[in-house]
Every structure is written in C-alpha cells, then in structure tokens.
Symmetry: D2
Subunit: 349 residues, 4 copies
Amino acid sequence: MSRIDVGVLGATGMVGQQFVRLLAGHPWFRLTWLAASERSAGKAYRDAAAWRLADVLPDEAAQLIVEEPVPGKGPRLIFSGLDAAVAGEVEGAFAASGHLVVSNARNFRMEPTVPLLVPEVNADHLALVPYQRQEKAWPGAIVTNPNCSTIFLAMALAPLRVFGLESAVVTTLQAISGAGYPGVASLDIAGNVVPFIGGEEEKIESETKKILGALQDRQVVPHALAVSAHTTRVPVVDGHIEMVSVRCSARPSLEDVRRAFAAFRGRPQEHGLPSAPEQPLVYLEEANRPQPRLDVERDRGMVVCLGRLRPCSVLDFKFVALGHNTVRGAAGAAILNAELMRTEGLLAD
Amino acid sequence: MSRIDVGVLGATGMVGQQFVRLLAGHPWFRLTWLAASERSAGKAYRDAAAWRLADVLPDEAAQLIVEEPVPGKGPRLIFSGLDAAVAGEVEGAFAASGHLVVSNARNFRMEPTVPLLVPEVNADHLALVPYQRQEKAWPGAIVTNPNCSTIFLAMALAPLRVFGLESAVVTTLQAISGAGYPGVASLDIAGNVVPFIGGEEEKIESETKKILGALQDRQVVPHALAVSAHTTRVPVVDGHIEMVSVRCSARPSLEDVRRAFAAFRGRPQEHGLPSAPEQPLVYLEEANRPQPRLDVERDRGMVVCLGRLRPCSVLDFKFVALGHNTVRGAAGAAILNAELMRTEGLLAD
Amino acid sequence: MSRIDVGVLGATGMVGQQFVRLLAGHPWFRLTWLAASERSAGKAYRDAAAWRLADVLPDEAAQLIVEEPVPGKGPRLIFSGLDAAVAGEVEGAFAASGHLVVSNARNFRMEPTVPLLVPEVNADHLALVPYQRQEKAWPGAIVTNPNCSTIFLAMALAPLRVFGLESAVVTTLQAISGAGYPGVASLDIAGNVVPFIGGEEEKIESETKKILGALQDRQVVPHALAVSAHTTRVPVVDGHIEMVSVRCSARPSLEDVRRAFAAFRGRPQEHGLPSAPEQPLVYLEEANRPQPRLDVERDRGMVVCLGRLRPCSVLDFKFVALGHNTVRGAAGAAILNAELMRTEGLLAD
Amino acid sequence: MSRIDVGVLGATGMVGQQFVRLLAGHPWFRLTWLAASERSAGKAYRDAAAWRLADVLPDEAAQLIVEEPVPGKGPRLIFSGLDAAVAGEVEGAFAASGHLVVSNARNFRMEPTVPLLVPEVNADHLALVPYQRQEKAWPGAIVTNPNCSTIFLAMALAPLRVFGLESAVVTTLQAISGAGYPGVASLDIAGNVVPFIGGEEEKIESETKKILGALQDRQVVPHALAVSAHTTRVPVVDGHIEMVSVRCSARPSLEDVRRAFAAFRGRPQEHGLPSAPEQPLVYLEEANRPQPRLDVERDRGMVVCLGRLRPCSVLDFKFVALGHNTVRGAAGAAILNAELMRTEGLLAD
C-alpha cells in the first residue's frame, strides 16, 4: 500500500512541531506539505520553525519549503495545529475546498455535525461526516479531537458508561506545554500554581458529554452525566494529571471498575492502527503513580495512565489519570483520528 | 504585662525553625528554651540548627543552648514541632509533668478530650481541657492544631455551616515545605506532580469533621458533612492550593457565600490576638488568584486567600483556597492557639 | 525636610513595579506621577498595571492616574524603568526638557559624559553631569545604573582595586525576573539552563571597566582590567549568582581579600542614605552560600552576598557573589543613585 | 559471537538502575547478576529497586533475584555503581577475587596503576592494567571512569592538546540526578542554585590532568595544564552544563578549534563500539545551545554537545559544553569502557 500524502496547517507552532515529529516515518502517511503564516512562508522548515522538541528535527521535514495556508493547495488530508484565533476561518475554507481537515482546534468541536472523536470511545461518531457535508455543502470535511484534558477524562470514563455514569468532579494539574509557545511566562509559573486556565473548565464540561453521547438520528445526544471541572496550571513540562471523583447509578465495586479499565479496548485496537496503544488505559499499582515525569511517555505517549482507585466519601469512587497533552492530547490524537478515518473508508475515493 | 516564657520541642526541624522565627519579638511570649534530639543538645541553637529560612536567624534564639527534651524542664508553656514518630510519647510525658503542650503533631488530634483548635472556628472546644486533665490525670494539657490542609479547608467551610454543609470534594496541591526537611527528594518532584501524600487524605476527611463539630456533653460531636480529599504534591516551596466543591442543604446563592466569607470573624479578631489577621478569609477578585508565589505571605501568612467562587455542576458551588502551610498551617496556628489559651485564662495559674 | 516629588517612566513593567514598591513610604521622595504607554494612559495604576509582586500594591500609587510619557510633564526627578527599545528617545527628550532622569536602561550608559553609577564605587563620577549638560545642551541630565550582573561584579571588585586588578573571569547564573515580563517563556527555562543572554556578556565586560575607571580630565578612563563573562539563565525567580575568578598584580592573600571585602564602605554608608545597606558586601561563612532562595532578600535586597573565597589555580582566587537583580540590580540601584544625587546637591536648583 | 555475562554492584541505586537500563539488549553483554545491600538481597529486582527512570524496567532484569555482593560470586565482568562509602572495600575485594571491575566510583580513580578511562581520549591508559595486577597481586583488575563533569571537560579539551593546553577555567551547572537518590532535598534546590558541591571541584581539577596525561614508563604523567573549577547545582533533572575558558600556547584561531572539535574521534569510533557515538563532540550552531532539556538525550546521551565558541578576553577562547551525567557521565561511560576492554583483549582469558 502506498502512503497517503498529508499536510500540516500551523506547522511551526508547538502542536505543529509534534505533528512533524510524529509523522516522520509514519507507515500510512507521508508528510509533503507544511503551511504556516506569511512570515514563515518561502523558508525551509528548518529555518522557519524554532524547533523546540528534544527529538531531533526529522531531515525530510527540515527541507520542506513552508507555504502559505491557501485552500486547495496541498494534499487532500490536512492536519491542523492552528491556533483557535485563526482556525475557524482557515479550516472552514480548507473543508470548503475539498480537504479533509483533521483538527486539534476548538472552533468546530461543538458543531452538531462535526465528530469530536476519540477513536476508542466514539468511533461511530464518524458517521456524522456525510451529514456535515450535506449541511455545510463542503466537498471536504472537518473531524476534530477534543481538548487535551477532556480526552483523558473521556477515555477514563468511557468504560464506566455501562455502570450508569451520573456525575464526575475533576481537578486537573496541567503542564505548560499545553499553552503553546511562548505560552505561559516563566514568571507566572516558576515555583507556582495558577488555579485558572481560560475556557478550559467549560470545554471539559461540555466536550465530555458530547464524546460520551450517543449517535441518534443524524446527531449526537450528549451523555446525561454532570461534569464539574477545576483546572490548574503547574510547573510541569509535559503531562496533565487529573484527580477524578465519579458516581454511577449501578454502584459498581472497585473491582468492577478495575476490570472495566483493564478490559477497555476500541476500534483502534481491533484494527491495530499504527498509533494505537495496545491497551488504552494502563493501571499502575504503585501507591504514588501515575506521575508526569515517570509515566508520560509510556507507549509513545498514547495511553492514559490510571492509578489510586479508591472509594470516594462524597461520590462513589475516585482515581488519578495522566495523559501526554501534546501527544495523546493533541497531535497524536489527530493522527489516530486520521488512521481511523482511513480504516473506515473516509480517505478513499 | 510581662511576657510568658515559652519553649519549643523539636526546635531544629522545619516547623521548629518557624516557631523560632515567629516567636522572635512576640509581644506576649518570650522564647527561653529550645529542645531537640540528643545530637543537638548542648550546642548553641545557631550551631545545632541548619537554618533554612530566608529571614535571618533571630539573635536571641541563636545563642540559646539546645537542651534534651526532658519533661519537667523548660517553661510551662511548650510549643511542639516534633515529628509524629516521637511526638506521641514526648508530648504525653510533658503534659503529665505539668506542661501545657501546644502541638502541631498529629498524634493527639483525634483524642476525644484534646481540642483540635482553629481559633476562629471552634474556640469553644478549649472547654475540653478540664475533661482531658481529668481523664488523663495530667496536671498539664495538650492542645493541637490540625493538619495544614485541613486548617485552610475548615476555615473556608466554617462560615458555610449556617447553610447546612452537606459535602465537600477537595483536591489539594501541596508545597514541598509541608514534608519537612530533607522531606521530598528533588528527583521526585522537580518538574513533576506526585498524586499521593501518605495519610493526608484521611486526616483531611476526619479532622475537618471534628473541627466543625459541636461540643456537647463533654465531647465533640463531629459535623455530619462528608469530605472527600484528593491530595497531591507540587513543586512549590510554600503554600497549599485547594480546589473545593461544596454542597449545602440551604442552597445558598454565590452572593450569600461571598457575604459569609467576607463577614467571617472569630474570637482571635474579637480579642485582637497578636497573630490574628484582621480578616481570616481574604477573597481575591482577579480571575487567576490566589497563587502561592503572589499571595502566600499576605497578612504575615496568617490568612486563607479565596477566589474563583462559581457554580459547580455536580455539587453547588466551587472555589479556590490558599494557605501558608508552615505558618497558618503549622507554627503560626499553634502560636495563635496559645494566644487564645491566654485570653481564655488557660495559661493562668 | 519636605519630600521631593518623583515620577516613574515605564511604570507598569517589572522594573517600574519595583520602583513603585520601593518608593512607597520613601523618606525623601514622594511618588506623584506615573507614565506608561498609550494603552495604559488614563487608567488608575491599579487597573493599568498587572501587579506581579508578592508585596501588596501600595494604596497611594494604586490610585494615581497613569499618564503618557510627555517630556516636561511630571516632576523634575524622574526614574526610568523603560525598555531599551524606547528609552533612548524618551529619556533624551526628558533630559532635554529639564528633567533629571535616573535611568535603569542601557541606552546612555556608555556615553562619555553620562555617569554609570554605583554609589559605593564611583560616587565621584557624578562630576560628569555638568559636562553632560554642556555637551548635550540639556537643562536636565541623565544618570544611569549599570546592568544588574555588572553592579554585583563591580561592587565585589571595587575593594580589590588596591591590589592591582588585572583580570576576572565570571560566570553568571541569572534569574528569570531579569528578563522582564512576559520575558522568558516557561517552556524555555522549566527544568533547564539557557547558556546565553543576548548582549549581556558584552555589557558586563565593558560596563565594569567604566564603573571601576578613574575620572580624569572631564572623562572616565576605563579600568585596565580584562573581564571575561559567561552568562546563563537558570530557573530561579530572583537573584543572580556569579562565580568569579580574579587575578591581581599584588597577589593579595585570601585574608587580605576577606579584609578588603569586610572593610568596603562608600559614600552611601557615610551619608546614611535611606536605601543604603549598612555594609555593602556581606560575606557568608557557610560552605554552600550564598544562595538565591535564602539570601537574596538580605538587608532589603540591597547588599551583595559573597562566599566561598578560595584559591584559583588559573588566576589567583575565586569566590561566589549574589545580588537581587530587580532591587540592587535595577530599581533599588536607581533610587540609591537619586539619594546620592541629593546629598551631592544635584537635586537642588 | 556469544554474549558475555556481566553483573552490577549497587544495582538498586540511581547509577545501578542506569546500568540495568543500558545493558538491556546489549549486543555484547548479558546482564545475569545483580547485587545490592543485605536489605535487597533475596528479592526480585523489580521488588528490591524503587525504579525511578522514565523507561520501563526491562523484563529480564526485573526477574533477577538480587544477591549480596560476595566476591567470587557472579560473572567475571562486573560493573560497579557503588557509592564511594563502600566502593573502596568491595571493589578491591572483587578484583582480588578475580573479577574485572568496571567502576564508576571515585575511590580508585587516582591510584597510579588504575586507568581513569575516557575511551576516546586515553584508550592507551588501559596498558596500566598489567602493572596494576602486578602491584596489587590481583587476578582481576579495576578500571574506572572519571567524575561526570570531568568526562565532559576532558572530552572537550582532548582535541585541543595539539595546541598546547595551558589552562582552563570552568563553571559547571550540574543536574540533581548527579547526586543520586534521595540526594538533593527539594527544599534546597527548588527555584534555587547551590554554588557548592562537596569534593567536586577537586575531582575536576585533578582527574582532568590524569586523563589528558601521557603514559610513560608504566605510569601516567599528568598533563601540565592548570584547571580551575567552580561547581554549582541547579534545578535541572539530567544534564550538566559547563562554561569553559581555555588558554593554549599555540594560540589557535576559533576556526582551528572548531575543526579540532569536529575532527575528534577515538578508538571507540574506529572500532565501532556498540555504545560509541558516531561523533563524540557535536557542535550546535544555534546561539543559545546546548541546553539540557533539548540536547541531553542526543545520540542516546553518549555525546558531549558544544556551542558558543567565541574569544575570551582573559584566556584565549571560551565555549559551552553539555553532557548527560548519568549516561555519558556514569553508567554509559563504564559500559563504553568495558566495550573498549573487550576489543583490546582484556576480557579474554
């Protein structure tokens, strides 16, 4: 099978750099096109991007000439690491020009006909795409991945739907890489905690319900559970920790919950998608895990690590979750989305 | 009025050093006696203690000769910064020898006749002291302050008792100074979060109920509210952040809660105790406050800063709290306890 | 004596905020005028400045209405915390309009008739002011303080001039607050060292020679010593560490050097200037000091702490220095300059 | 070729864990024996070692039963990650029992007949081994690697010997992992710099001269250059930065130095040793590199990254160096030593 050409919008930013890193040597996709703002256009990527990842900039991408984000240019399949300030307009224009835009931006996530996809959780939501094309009259389409913190929460809650999820209270301790570059000023976060991230709590509370919702009659009926989020920024480079309390109508035992976590698999695992972890949820037995520094890179940053499952004296039970915010929470999530789209036939024509 | 002689048990540790710092120039108390382990005994305090605070070691204390913790030696009023591993035995022996031990250790906190005191919240619990003396046959007595995180939570919840407190879910982001010295290894916490602190969640859940409880018939009836705590360690030097969700049976409006926070005062404010802040709860209006680095030293570290009061979609409302863990959460708490004991006539004989 | 009205240019930035903090309650100066960019003008300072210091914003300053930096407006004595990008033009215009500009910016530092002042070191350089007025035809004048790292180095080297300073190699470990706000991105410095600060090494190497130079015939003859600087940024909030190796022609013993450090005093100490530390150089005996977190606030951040004096196997001897970069290295330095100017009669008219 | 059985002394410590990680899947060596203190003996390694590396504990090692360090037990080739407190006695006893001990400890480094080996720099020093056996009457032998900071400095200076090295002044900014576990207390280093590391400056100053020295008449004549070291601890997890000024009698141009860095190769590269980097010194062109967070893992942590070569106004030129302290500076160094020993015939019998 030949590799499919792909491009990246917003290629010089933090999420864009993760796309470039993760697409290097991808078995299904070949990165051939990089777009960024006018300021970068015309330069080799190695000169346009101030590369800030510890892995060395892949040679092939380094030599690509960055282009301006002109709809219709570039391959049909486009990953978007655009900032929300411009993603709404640019991604819409690309979809209208026939591109399949696999986006990490928040702009289209809550649109009724746009899949807000976590492949292990709601692969069936891809069925929205035809309705989206019809509604928008787009030859292309937009498929989104959720906010990083939301992905980890939704993955941890998904196997608990069978127990009748009623409510969840979550406090996040989020890494600085989640805010992009330059992002958080060092004076704001050095030796400090900032107990506020603009718009984040709202995203977690609404997106989780859409992801866990059921597809009925050409639309997603949001899940009924109530989610309350407290979000904080902490001086960690990569990896969001979430402290989660949950109530379920079926009152599962801790053992039931453990088994549900362990058994959780989805379409990516069935199809053996290249970026899919063998097991999406990895439960760590040690009393003080998961921890960002020790666990965030597990299985290439594509799993959610869980731990400390114990009773909650207000809701039913509580646990800790950890995910890699720029991999499973952003670029890696979008790539897994595109891999699923391929096995579901959405990339063919 | 002449100053009362006081001593410190565990004087060389982190909490002990805070006692020494805070007692320097205290208007009511004069620090005349310092005790520590055998290894330190016989040395001048300046040589025995590896001073680790940014404020310079006070001259008077520097010259005191450290003694061994022998019950009956030293002044009647003794502050204890002892580690829990030894506090049980040593504090008991001092109380049995006639000392009034004002302790920061956890060992006696949950004993039925030992006041677990937050002067603004439950000053009336000091009435347990006579029962304690009777029960233990101690000429002295022990009065304790709660665990640091618990103090901040209890102070924030105390004014909400009028609304019928039902439940609270709290996630703490705790500073490294809370673990003493050497305490947390830098390799464990640098750029990291550890989502576990041994015994801490249990303390918060049980101590809060005792503090907020009512004194009835010679004992404290714990408050009925359910508390669920998630505790984490973060790379911050001083200042514990708490993300709190609360449910009250009276369903107060956010405005009601704000007014209750603002109006909250207690015995320390009525009596103008030297260490009492003018206003125990300080609400910060900025969207991203309180923060440890900017707010932990407010009013000499003796207030609890609050912020971000907003609705909670699972319980009723939620907010952020911040307190200085080694001041209001430890040594400063004990000193305020002793100040209250003086105005309540417990130091007279 | 009545207080002298003063103003601050660049009042909302990091150095500007330090000016505001340090001028609150100053015995000689009364802060009556704050200027900042167009965007802030017309607002109360409390609304215009995103206050980022742990000390609470002083009430008096909070209420001042921020003005635009129009030369001729505001008091005669003006402190400048302006960024170098605009300081050249604005400060010049203010001096041309009759203001005495006491500046922290680098723009005029190396001009032959502009004093580059460290009051303990080269108070006599103030004699340049009349030549400056003549040369520039300014009714006002500009007096500058050096770069932060340079101040600490110059203060440590000044008492060694008697030994025939020949050369110094210095490596700095500089705090993030030195880069202003937003300044250093957290992703660049979290758990990291950046071994480069643009222009900093050049400033240290040239400014030190001017400061230590001799006033001869209406100009400063730079000191002959060779200075080589290595500069790095480290994840510390406040306080620059400097590791210094020195060679002197007289080959002083370590004891000679220690005595010279201890005996060092200058005009600020003779006159008892309000911001002057009693002793400009404080030598710490502990083997592992000075340290930013423990020592940077000594004597209100106005001293340079020294330690670890020992032989150097390449030059003669080596030691550690520490200074508070935004206090003694910026706003506090400028205020001390203005205090000296007053006692030298430069503020009279 | 069959793999050679190897063991590790001090297997549960930080360096021991790096040995275990780096030996997993090694093409020449097979890890079959792990020894640690009495407390760990008898347990499976997975239970005995509190694994603190981000890479998952290799399965094979996890199942090995930890033994006590009894000389004569275990394979002939033994890596030692022992602490200096016990390494002197234990390593000597193992060598006396016929083991080849490849040690990271400091105890034997400066013994005249013990090679202090950096394979790219002084592979010929292995010729000391027969003299060592003769002198000590050991059937085995001890080969050591230098102190971590010393290795990086020696590697950077080695290609400059041709220019007549005269002196070097170096300031190190060292990571916390260099101090082992628990090592540095977080309260000592969080947001701080400690300008002192016990014994470190002496090691750098003496070991560098031995490594760069010439083998003459059965012993190493130390190189004549003078080295002056300033050492500091900074809040970085992995990676020591060194700021180096150098003087050479031949006064090479910067271009000469650059070429010497680029051309530097040694025996490991000639023989293609499994752990050898292709190019031992990697010069980075960016103005602000190398940096620990971005560059420490290059080429599996086995290279020294260099940058910022520029003139020094006191010595001749100066530059920045970076190395991975627990890989190239410890366990990786020892493994490379053992690989060289094999190609030099020292492992045959």
